[in-house]
């Protein structure tokens, strides 16, 4: 990937000393130190909820620190608003973009600081400057394109341009690769290179180890709000980084005991179905999953995986075909009937389908079982039983912060939200568990956790259907891999025989022997 470092070790751009930030009795940042030089890419690594974003919000003026000092260009400063941060040359690109979709790139960039000519906005001048900046860092952004028409990667560049346009020398990028394709990630890393070559500093908040290795000079590790250490990225490997982040040795490979698959749990035959545009997307799909095996469904997004899972879980009606669970027909049954016959799922979108964010963790943990004893009797909720159940699961599945059963699920970090869902679905202990992208957006510690529970279900002789866009995940977990392409299963192989190239080719519609 050819990382070129532009660090100017003599010039410190930003220094944060002993930053403490408390919310009530919760300490989000506990004496954290950070030094960023001119031209440096500095990664901040930590698990979900470790306090990375809090630290950056302190630097960007969104939070005031409880104690600690901040120096910009050697001078001690107090940053009490984002406006002040921008004046000092600090810019932030948030994980969720703050753009107005029907406006052009230029219009979005000047929003709030429109250059005027008399009473009218001087778009021409602004457009010229946007063009200049874009070319200078080789960003290839069309200043006249509407945000709603351009790709996510391009939108992110518009955000970076916005920050540069406001004169930022220090750019904070919050989880910048979360929604990018591998190609776009590569391009972003190149842009970061151009920025540092020009003397800008970049702070990268992330939990993706590969990207840190590919782009960062230094990495500061934070664990549960505490400063662990700052390392030179060249001197450590991914495994070291992961262990420092989690605080223990991390297993990248999951331990699976050998098992012979048993009876068929799920059998799908000749399934046809339409997508949201009413176009046929499932074109006669066949699939079986047996007890004691994890079947990985590999495929490029948009080949029918989403619709398959929606039909299997009752959220969508299929057109024709046969879906059997343990020999009983569940084709086009309601979600309730399907659940009762023994299918649970970890949904792809945890905030849309998985959780009611306004509900407490305890309430979320009974989402399917609220009407059953002991959680309710004769239509009355049994608060004591619900809380006991929640306490047990929060402890067992290490949902943080501890004792969060009464908190609204929306206040938990993404990884902990996922733990709540896993806790619920695994506890349901159904014959078939369908997991859709179960580790998306999670850090290595949480990923290991999720994988462990999927394998545990298999080892308990249950069936698991894993649908994932992460090939690594599919290959390391699956006993059998099926490839979905254009609404059909186009091939399969044993998990232990799988290699990335063959799978990649099959996912693109090629045949294994080609």
């Amino acid at each position: 990937m050819g990382k070129v470092s532009h660090v100017d070790e003599k010039t410190i751009a930003i220094q944060m000393k002993d930053i403490v930030k408390k919310f009530g009795d919760f300490t989000a940042n506990d004496h954290i130190n950070l030094t960023v030089h001119k031209g440096e890419v500095h990664a901040i690594l930590g698990e979900n909820g470790a306090g990375k974003s809090t630290l950056m919000n302190v630097l960007y003026g969104l939070y005031r620190p409880t104690s600690g000092e901040i120096f910009v260009d050697g001078k001690q400063v107090s940053i009490d608003s984002p406006k002040k941060a921008i004046e000092m040359g600090i810019g932030m690109v948030h994980q969720h973009f703050m753009l107005v979709p029907p406006y052009t790139v230029t219009e979005n960039i000047i929003l709030g600081m429109e250059p005027r000519k008399g009473l009218v906005v001087d778009l021409k001048e602004a457009r010229k400057r946007v063009q200049e900046i874009s070319e200078r860092y080789n960003m290839q952004v069309d200043p006249d394109a509407k945000i709603e028409d351009i790709s996510v990667g391009m939108q992110q560049r518009a955000e970076i341009l916005k920050v540069l346009y406001r004169g930022a020398d220090i750019l904070i990028l919050d989880e910048p690769t979360a929604s990018l394709t591998p190609q776009e990630i590569q391009e972003l890393i190149e842009i970061i290179g151009h920025l540092t070559a020009d003397g800008k500093s970049v702070i990268l908040i992330t939990h993706k180890l590969k990207e840190i290795k590919a782009s960062a000079d230094y990495c500061t590790i934070i664990r549960q709000g505490k400063y662990i250490r700052t390392v030179k990225v060249d001197e450590v490997d991914e495994h070291d980084l992961a262990s420092m982040m989690v605080g223990r040795d991390v297993e990248f490979v999951v331990d699976k005991k050998p098992l012979t698959p048993g009876d068929v749990v799920l059998s799908v035959k000749d399934l046809h179905g339409k997508d949201y545009r009413d176009v046929e997307i499932l074109k006669g799909l066949d699939l079986t999953v047996r007890r004691g095996e994890i079947v990985g469904l590999a495929g490029v997004d948009g080949n029918g995986q989403t619709e398959l899972v929606e039909i299997l879980t009752g959220l969508k009606k299929g057109d024709s075909g046969q879906v059997m669970v343990n020999g009983q027909d569940i084709f086009n049954a309601t979600p309730r009937e399907i659940f009762d016959r023994g299918i649970t799922s970890i949904p792809a979108d945890r905030q849309k389908h998985g959780l009611v964010l306004e509900f407490s963790v305890a309430e979320n943990l009974i989402l399917q079982n609220y009407g059953k004893e002991p959680f309710s009797k004769k239509g009355i909720l049994q608060n004591k039983a619900i809380m006991e159940h929640a306490k047990k699961l929060v402890e067992k599945f290490d949902v943080r912060p501890a004792g969060s059963e009464t908190r609204p699920a929306g206040t938990l970090s993404g990884g902990n939200q996922q733990k709540v869902i896993i806790a619920r679905e695994v506890t349901n202990d159904s014959d078939l568990l369908i997991a859709v992208n179960p580790t998306r957006g999670l850090d290595v510690g949480a990923i290991e956790f999720v994988h462990r529970y999927l394998v545990e279900q298999r080892n308990k002789n249950k069936a698991v259907l894993l649908v994932s866009f992460e090939l690594d995940e599919i290959m390391s977990l699956s006993d059998r891999i099926e490839v979905i392409f254009d609404g059909k299963i186009t091939g399969g192989m044993a998990g232990k025989d799988a290699d990335e190239n063959t799978l990649g080719l099959m996912m693109a519609g090629g045949k294994a022997h080609e």
């Binding site: 939070y63 979600p335 389908h353 909720l381």
Partner: protein
């Protein structure tokens, strides 16, 4: 540092601040109009509190408002905006009126039948809107508003049916049977010097407690709240979202219908031909907002609105337009709506300060 839950985290504080601001803005406008605000406000207070009779009247005014407030608050909690409480109120009132005139039953039974008829009518009126939403995808706000007018004209039509219409003069129905009234015993009415003193307030409080229990403590409430917050997750969890939504709209309608029954059976005893909407349903929205969509909060908010309405009616005695009450109530709602901004400011200061 072990911080206790600050009072600034409580809804009631913001509501209280908003009420103060409402009165301040009202005072400014009164002063601008050349009216002595102090005098007007003292009239408002003495007009409600200076005699037991006045207090009783404020409660009579409050009872139907608590119920329409409850109706709207319940809908808010389940993700629907019941702007149709007005129409459900009218339908409930009308059903109770017809049953109250046409049936002859012994007293307690007659009351019960009238109340059930009113709740059923309100529920059906709300459920039809739900049905249109679920089956045909019609936005409930639109149909609610249209159903308000359908109820309005339907009521005027029924009032003029000869079998219902008053004999002799007056554009109104006959009086309902005494067995269908919910007046308090003669002794209390004499003691308070208020002939219209009725049990409506008791019905309202019982309804509020039942609704509170239903929302928070039952599996039905769990389903309705889940659908209200996140329909997708609810469906994923096996809850039939369409059915839950219709149930919620029917219960909400039943509360407004009960409000109509209370107004009829407690206070008016008959239905007059409408010239304009009576606003009980719309005022319920205000009650729900002041009560923070909490059923118990609605009791207090309804009493407050009832007192303001009754006290306001006396302002004309000192040549002050009673509309000032509407201005105050409107301002309060405005301030409650922006109260989350206060909250953020205060929370930010607290975070920065310690």
């Amino acid at each position: 540092m072990n911080e206790k839950k600050s009072i600034w985290d409580s809804n009631a504080v913001y509501t209280f601040i908003s009420i103060i601001f409402g009165f301040l803005v009202g005072a400014i406008l009164l002063t601008a109009a050349g009216i002595n605000a102090g005098e007007a406000y003292s009239k408002l207070v003495t007009g409600v509190f200076s005699k037991p009779k006045f207090i009783m009247w404020a409660i009579i005014y409050a009872s139907p408002l608590i119920l329409t407030g409850l109706s709207v608050a319940f809908s808010f909690r389940t993700g629907v905006f019941n702007i149709g409480a007005e129409g459900q109120f009218v339908m409930g009132s009308l059903a109770a009126c017809v049953v109250g005139i046409k049936l002859s039953l012994p007293a307690p039974l007659h009351v019960l039948v009238c109340i059930l008829a009113a709740m059923a009518a309100g529920a059906v009126w709300g459920a039809i809107v739900g049905l249109l939403k679920v089956k045909k995808g019609i936005n409930e706000v639109l149909s609610y508003i249209m159903f308000n007018w359908i109820a309005f004209y339907f009521s005027n039509y029924v009032v003029n049916i000869p079998a219902i219409h008053r004999e002799g003069g007056g554009e109104a129905t006959r009086d309902i049977a005494d067995t269908a009234r919910i007046l308090m015993p003669e002794a209390i009415r004499k003691a308070t010097d208020c002939q219209s003193a009725n049990w409506g307030i008791l019905l309202a409080i019982i309804a509020a407690v039942i609704i509170w229990f239903l929302i928070n403590k039952t599996t039905l409430g769990y389903q309705l709240r889940a659908v209200g917050f996140n329909r997708h997750a609810a469906e994923y969890g096996g809850i039939n979202a369409n059915r839950a939504m219709m149930t919620a709209m029917a219960i909400s309608g039943a509360m407004a219908g009960l409000g109509g029954a209370v107004q009829l059976m407690g206070m008016s005893g008959r239905i007059s031909q409408f010239a304009s909407q009576e606003m009980f349903g719309f005022q319920g929205i205000t009650v729900a907002l002041i009560g923070a969509s909490n059923p118990i909060g609605c009791i207090f908010a309804g009493l407050f609105y009832g007192a303001m309405k009754y006290g306001g009616s006396k302002l004309s005695l000192i040549k002050t337009p009673s509309e000032v009450v509407d201005i105050i109530m409107g301002t309060i709602i405005l301030f409650i709506a922006v109260s989350h901004i206060f909250r953020k400011l205060l929370a930010g200061r607290k975070k920065g300060g310690n």
